[in-house]
């Protein structure tokens, strides 16, 4: 046992835990200086996080306004072709059960057929009075829909109810009025069971709808079930199929819908679906980001130089300590590793604090503007880690400098 053991067990050698402990003690020795050291990195990382975060938030905000109506609406129509005379005509028709077919697709929340009905010389009136001397007034449009029209078009029933599949099948003479049409026809309440007349036929008004965001023209129209329109008004083919989609379902539904509606000739169905979410956001983001990211990069560079400076200063200050450690048996590599780890830890601290600060700023700004803060968390993690990377780069030169210190001169000149 006296021949000093050449083979020290691995656990008793200068290991990672010793390295970390020494580096931590080195960093912790001067907390005030630590704050100053990481300041540059904190500001750099924070500005990058704020830049990207606010850009994402703003883009999300813009998207949200787009989205609310457009991103969840889809339309399918029969394809048209241009004839020799310059007129366009449909090359196919949608089936009457299109809504059922569409609603089976994943991503479709509601679907409804909306078809304009040609009235010919029929008038829409509240009272069937034939007064040859009265001037003709413009009729409200008459539109046939399938039962789920309000779900598909984003409307609300403000009075009464919307017609259902039963009304449709039995071709019941019921109508629902758009709010504007109801006002024009003088229908204010549906609980008195009012009727309107299309030509000579009476239709019972069972509801009034409002707020049809996707087809505001329906507000000034008389809506009746497909069944009644086909039986009474000779509606022969459905017009358009309107769909209410889940967010981001557009591309998928768009590719499946023609086949679902017309399995034998999907090319006869034209679909218009909202684009994926990304294209709008990306273009907005790219503009905002470029400048601020450049600024953040400059701040990071300054932060890195700051760490390098302070680490170098610390090396020069601790020449005596380095000499002592060498005398106590530390290798050059262990010395270099210690200063490297100190620098990386300082950088990482700066990164963490900076990322946290950035997230806080994004949240506060969003809260003040009543936006929804949107932040890619991976980006925040990457920002914190990049602080460590900056520390690594900044620590390279000072560490090599520390490793190259000769213990002899260091110990003689020390404090």
């Amino acid at each position: 046992m006296t021949t000093v053991a050449h083979h020290v067990p691995r656990t008793d050698r200068f290991g990672v835990s010793d390295l970390l402990a020494e580096a931590a003690a080195g960093i912790g020795a001067r907390p005030g200086r630590l704050v100053l050291t990481i300041l540059g990195t904190v500001l750099g990382i924070a500005s990058v996080v704020v830049t990207v975060g606010l850009a994402q938030t703003a883009a999300g905000q813009i998207n949200k306004q787009f989205d609310a109506v457009a991103a969840t609406q889809g339309v399918a129509k029969p394809a048209t072709s241009r004839g020799f005379g310059g007129d366009t005509r449909a090359v196919g028709t949608l089936p009457w059960d299109s809504p059922e077919r569409a609603e089976r697709l994943n991503g479709v929340e509601a679907a409804a057929l909306v078809s304009e009905v040609e009235l010919g010389d029929l008038d829409v009136t509240a009272v069937p009075v034939h007064d040859p001397s009265a001037p003709r007034v413009a009729n409200p449009a008459v539109i046939a829909t399938s039962p789920h029209a309000m779900e598909a078009l984003g409307g609300t029933v403000v009075q009464g109810r919307y017609f259902d599949a039963g009304h449709d099948q039995r071709a019941d003479r019921v109508v629902v009025l758009g709010a504007e049409a109801a006002r024009r026809l003088g229908v204010v309440r549906v609980d008195r069971q009012p009727s309107i007349f299309i030509g000579d036929r009476a239709y019972q008004v069972i509801g009034i709808v409002d707020g049809v965001l996707r087809r505001t023209d329906l507000l000034s129209a008389v809506l009746l079930p497909n069944g009644a329109a086909r039986a009474d008004l000779a509606l022969t083919t459905p017009g358009e199929l309107h769909l209410h989609l889940q967010v981001a379902a557009g591309p998928v539904v768009g590719s499946q819908l023609p086949t679902a509606l017309s399995p034998n000739s999907p090319e006869t169905v034209d679909v218009q679906m909202p684009a994926g979410r990304s294209s709008v956001r990306e273009s907005v983001q790219a503009d905002i980001n470029a400048i601020f990211l450049a600024l953040g990069g400059v701040a990071l560079l300054i932060g890195g130089v700051g760490i390098a400076n302070v680490t170098l200063l610390s090396v020069l200050e601790r020449v005596g300590e380095i000499g002592l450690r060498r005398a106590l048996g530390a290798t050059r590599r262990q010395i270099a590793a210690q200063f490297m780890v100190e620098s990386v830890v300082v950088g990482m601290l700066g990164g963490l604090v900076g990322a946290a600060l950035g997230v806080a700023v994004v949240t506060i700004v969003s809260a003040a503007s009543e936006w929804t803060p949107i932040l890619d968390l991976r980006m925040v993690g990457a920002a914190a880690l990049s602080g460590g990377l900056i520390g690594l780069l900044a620590g390279l030169y000072p560490s090599l400098k520390a490793a190259s210190i000769e213990p002899i001169s260091a110990l003689r000149g020390g404090v």
Partner: protein
């Protein structure tokens, strides 16, 4: 049982018997010159043997080559020529890692300037020596406390070196030097920064360490310090000579 308990048997003179353990320090025609025009001879070829448990002092005026000798003995510098055996292990051509390992386990340093870390407690300063020398982790704290007890500082464990007196600082440094149970203690002007009272206490401590079997090598320019040693070596202008 410690290293020190086993030492101490051979006192004075180089062992000639092959069964004897090798000397702790053996210089064979070691010289050191620094390149230049003309080259500077800091140490002319010198031979020296220090057996286990000996107490040797090196004296000489400043600029005589004492520091060069210390650096060579402490494996902080390599001889230009010759061979230095530390505990029988040739070191002149050993790799940097091996020399660092030898420094860690075989040599304890005491400096004129103490070299204590100001932000660490006394105990932590002593523990610093154990992390590089492979002292078993479980024993480190106990050994450090024991070493501090030995130098009479067990009541100062949690103090910062900055609040200690010069004598206490140097005793802390001695505790740090002996905690890894080295084969030889190298002291470089250990009393250079101390008043006479503190000096006396430190020299007293050296005597105790010597009595317990530790090999001591003290470099000094003060005659009363060197007088405490059994053997004295003088360096003048790079020439080393033993004083009878």
């Amino acid at each position: 049982m410690t290293v020190m308990d086993l030492l101490g048997a051979p006192q004075g003179g180089a062992p000639t018997d092959p069964d004897q353990p090798p000397p702790v320090v053996e210089l064979r025609a070691v010289e050191r010159q620094f390149p230049g025009d003309p080259p500077v001879h800091a140490l002319y070829p010198a031979d020296l043997q220090v057996g286990a448990g000996e107490y040797l002092s090196v004296v000489g005026p400043s600029g005589s080559g004492k520091s060069t000798l210390l650096n060579l003995l402490g494996l902080l510098d390599r001889p230009s020529d010759g061979e230095y055996l530390l505990d029988g292990i040739p070191t002149a051509h050993a790799g940097e890692r091996e020399r660092a390992a030898l420094r860690a386990r075989h040599i304890g340093f005491v400096f004129q300037a103490f070299h204590l870390l100001p932000h660490r407690t006394v105990l932590e300063n002593v523990l610093l020596a154990t992390i590089y020398s492979g002292v078993p982790r479980a024993e480190r704290r106990d050994r450090a406390v024991e070493a501090l007890d030995r130098v009479g500082l067990s009541h100062r464990l949690d103090f910062r070196p900055t609040v200690l007196s010069g004598g206490e600082r140097q005793r802390t440094a001695v505790a740090r030097a002996v905690v890894s149970q080295p084969r030889v203690l190298l002291a470089d002007e250990p009393t250079g920064n101390l008043d006479s009272e503190s000096s006396a206490a430190v020299l007293e401590l050296f005597d105790e360490l010597h009595a317990s079997g530790l090999t001591l090598l003290v470099i000094t320019h003060e005659d009363d310090v060197s007088a405490r040693a059994q053997r004295r070596v003088r360096i003048i202008d790079g020439h080393m000579r033993e004083i009878a």
